[in-house]
Structure formats: C-alpha cells, structure tokens
C-alpha cells in the first residue's frame, strides 16, 4: 500500500467535484481513519452505497494469521481509501530486473504438457540388435611386428636402445623440418649427399632435434628421425603452456626474440619454430627471428633458447631470496 496514494486522491478530487476555488485540503474529502463520530462526517457516496466486501471471511482469516489485529485494522482502513475499481484491478509490482524473462508463467497451475514426464517410447531400432558382419581380421589377435621397411624406423631396435616402450615411441610427434642436398668437394670430385633435419617430441615437455646425412634421402630421413628421438630432452614450460619470461637469443647469425604469451594466445611464429613448439607442447608463444633465417640454424637457436631458460626457482636459490608466484600463491594455479 503506497502512502502517496491518499494524498494524490486528496489533490485530485476537487477537480472532479464542483468547488474548484476552495483549496483541496481545507475540507476532509477523503475518509478519515479516526473514529470520528458519523455526525461530523460529510455525507459521501461511499456512505450512501454500502461498502463492498473486499475480502471474504476465509481471506480475512488468513490475514488474521499473518497480521496482528492492529496491523490488520490499519491495513484495511488504508485500503478503504482506494477506489473499489482500482482495488479490483490491482496488480503486483514487477521487480526491477532488466534481465528477467518477458513473460509471466503461472507456476501455481499444472501445465498439461510440461508438468508431466513424457511417455516412454519403446526403442525400436532394428540396427541395434543386428549382428556385426564377420571379418577375417581379428582385432584381438596378436600380429608380430613386420621388419622395418625402407624409410621406416626400426622401432624395436630403438626401443631397446632407449628403454622406451614401442607404443610410446610410435606416439611421438615426429616431423621433417628441412631437407636439402649438400656437396663435399674432394680431390676425387664432388660427393653429393642429402641432409635432413627432424624434430621429435611427446607434446608434453620433451623435445629433440636430429640430423641425418646420407647419399639416399630415405636413409638421411631415417637417421634424422632416430637422432631426433634420441636427442629428446626435457624443457621447462611455465604452467605447461609457455616459456619463462622473454628471451633474446643469438647463435651465429641467427637472432631471435622468444616471448612468453598469455593463455589462449596460440603460437605465432615461423613454421619450423611452430613445429618445434608443438612437439614440445608449448601452446602460447611468440617468436621473432630478426636476422638470419637459415632453417637449420633457426631450429637450433630455438632449441638453445628453450634449454637456456632461467627458472624463477633457480634465480631465487642463487640469490637466496623468496620469489612468490602470485598466480599459484593466491589463486592456486599450478606453475
């Protein structure tokens, strides 16, 4: 019940009535709340027509439970000041929620569709019970490994040498980065060979590069793959996704800026560095190669950069101070 309601009525009523010159509040037009004797009251329309019952007895009983008699009396008296038509057309005030739904659902009533669970539909899928066709190939049967073919790695031998399971070896990310012809000039003449550069990594912090040289390109590739897998070393990553801080690395004529990047940035760099970063499992990185872009030297320089990172823990140990990673200290992120 708004407190401003009776006042507006007080102000509005004279316009409807005949006496326009008299101020609105000189005569009590609205019904006074006090127990003024009826003889003092001005005769109004409401008194002529008997007041309409606004609440049924049942409703009043409920209200009595909720309010004390004094409260209820004052409420009822307050509501009496409201026109009967207005009272019947009263609405609940919508809460000021800009994001609320644009419709009102009356949840007090049962919806014949939404309030009942859907009837169970019997699954009649003829394909579900159809037997699988019989094939010659049995997946569960063990097939011995065939001998390594041409240009293919002998995983069995490599597994023995490295002590790494064959399955793990096959799961590595191995990619050719460079292959070109090299020539050695001897007194017998030019000896031509193929040079090959491979990267291998488990995409989770282990990466290595390998070179191979042979008169046959396939042999060179095989050697390079083998060397790459053998040369795999663990590298440090910040939060398993980027490098520890920015670096500027120079080897020979290759100069590069390796920059740590925020989560979700991606790897933005040249193609061979991208391959190495993928093999190492680096997800957010930016690399700018500023001088020579010789493919082989770029890859070697990037590998050097990854391995020559200065870890915060090492710095703290060397300086005898405590470095706290805010991310892990306050937000519980794993470094």
């Amino acid at each position: 019940m708004s407190i401003s309601r009776p006042i507006t009525r007080l102000l509005r009523r004279p316009l409807v009535g005949a006496t326009s010159s008299t101020p609105a509040f000189t005569t009590p037009i609205a019904r006074s709340f006090s127990s003024t004797p009826a003889s003092f009251k001005k005769p109004t329309i409401r008194e002529i027509t008997p007041p309409l019952a606004r609440y049924t007895d049942e409703e009043l009983a409920i209200l009595k439970e909720k309010y004390t008699p004094e409260q209820l009396q004052s409420l009822l008296m307050g509501e009496e000041t409201i026109d009967h038509e207005h009272f019947l057309a009263r609405k609940g005030r919508a809460p000021k929620d800009p994001y609320k739904l644009r419709y009102l659902t009356d949840l007090s009533k049962m919806d014949p569709v939404w309030d009942f669970p859907p009837p169970e539909v019997l699954a009649e899928d003829p394909h579900a019970t159809q037997p699988l066709p019989k094939t010659e190939f049995d997946q569960n049967k063990y097939f011995p490994m065939e001998e390594a073919g041409e240009g293919e790695l002998d995983y069995k031998e490599l597994s023995k040498q490295l002590g790494m399971p064959e399955k793990q070896l096959k799961g590595l990310y191995v990619k050719k980065l460079d292959m070109h012809r090299v020539v050695n000039q001897t007194r017998l003449g030019k000896i031509r060979k193929m040079y090959c550069l491979y990267v291998a990594g488990n995409e989770n912090g282990m990466v290595g590069i390998g070179e191979g040289k042979s008169s046959e390109s396939e042999d060179a590739a095989r050697m390079a793959q083998k060397n790459a897998i053998k040369n795999m070393v663990p590298i440090q990553r910040y939060m398993g996704r980027t490098v520890h801080g920015d670096m500027e690395v120079k080897i020979g004529a290759v100069e590069m800026k390796v920059m740590a990047r925020p989560q979700g940035f991606g790897v933005r760099c040249s193609e061979r560095i991208w391959e190495v970063a993928r093999a190492a499992g680096i997800k957010d990185l930016s690399v700018k190669v500023t001088r020579s872009r010789n493919p082989m030297n770029v890859v070697k320089t990037f590998m050097y950069a990854l391995q020559s990172q200065k870890l915060p823990e090492t710095i703290a140990r060397g300086r005898g101070i405590k470095l706290a990673d805010v991310r892990s200290a306050y937000f519980g992120a794993s470094a």
């Binding site: 200065k310 060397g318 470095l323």
Partner: protein, 155 residues
Amino acid sequence: MSLVNLAHVCSHLQNASLRRLGTTSIPSTKLHLNLMLALQAQGFLSSVTRGTPNGPDPEFTETNNDNIAQRRIWVGLKYLDNEPVLSEMGLISKPKQRIWMGVEDLETLAKSRDCKYVKGARPGEAIFLGTDRGIFEIREAIERRIGGQLLCRAR
C-alpha cells in the same frame, strides 16, 4: 653521479661473471658503494669490502686525501651450479638520456610492462633507482612511495 663510470662497472661485473671470478674490484665512489650494497641486499653479491688495487683491506682503513687515489671496492661474486647469479647488468638511464619515474610508472615496470621506452622487469630481474633517500630496488621504492632516476638493471 657519473653514469659513464657506472656503465663501466656494469660491464666489468658482467665480464667478471663470465670469467667466473670469485672477487673483483671496482672504482670507489659513494654511488658505486651504495649500489653494490643494494646488489648485496638483493642477493647478487656475496660480499662488499673496501680495499686497494692489491686486495681488500684486512682491517679498517680510513679514506683520506693521501690514499684516495688508491681506494677500490671489492665485491664477491656468486655462482650456482657453475652459473653466475649476476649474469646480466646494464644501464637504463644513459649519460645522454637520463630517465626519472614516479611511483605509478615504477609500478607498471614492476609488473613487467614497458613504460616510457623502458622495458619492464623480467621475472627475477632487479631494477635499481637513485632517489633523494638513497639507492633502492624498484619494489622497495614502490613500497616507500618514492620515485627517482632509473640507474641500472641486474639479472
């Protein structure tokens, strides 16, 4: 406040670290002494001693007009796993362009963000400032809410 001499000191400490020297000496000035003490407080140096070109003083020797030309500051360098603790050191303010910064800009630098053509501090990097209250590391200066001239950075 000679930045030229400070540049020489920075280069000398880098070179000494590359050669894996245990101790080395630098010219004795108030600026150098205070900076070396700040470096030691940050854990970059193991010791800071006054001395002569022959070596650190075995006992306290007063600096006077007679021996002032022979005064040096001897510092002990630190290594961990055969890697120098102080591997990079260089000027920020140059003799031709000195850079002063207020606290807000220092905070930006300390957050590894570039500010006023100065590269932000990398993880584990210390930036030293010359203020009217002495030489401070950037984080100390921010804590005390004082700005100053950016002298050098060490890592």
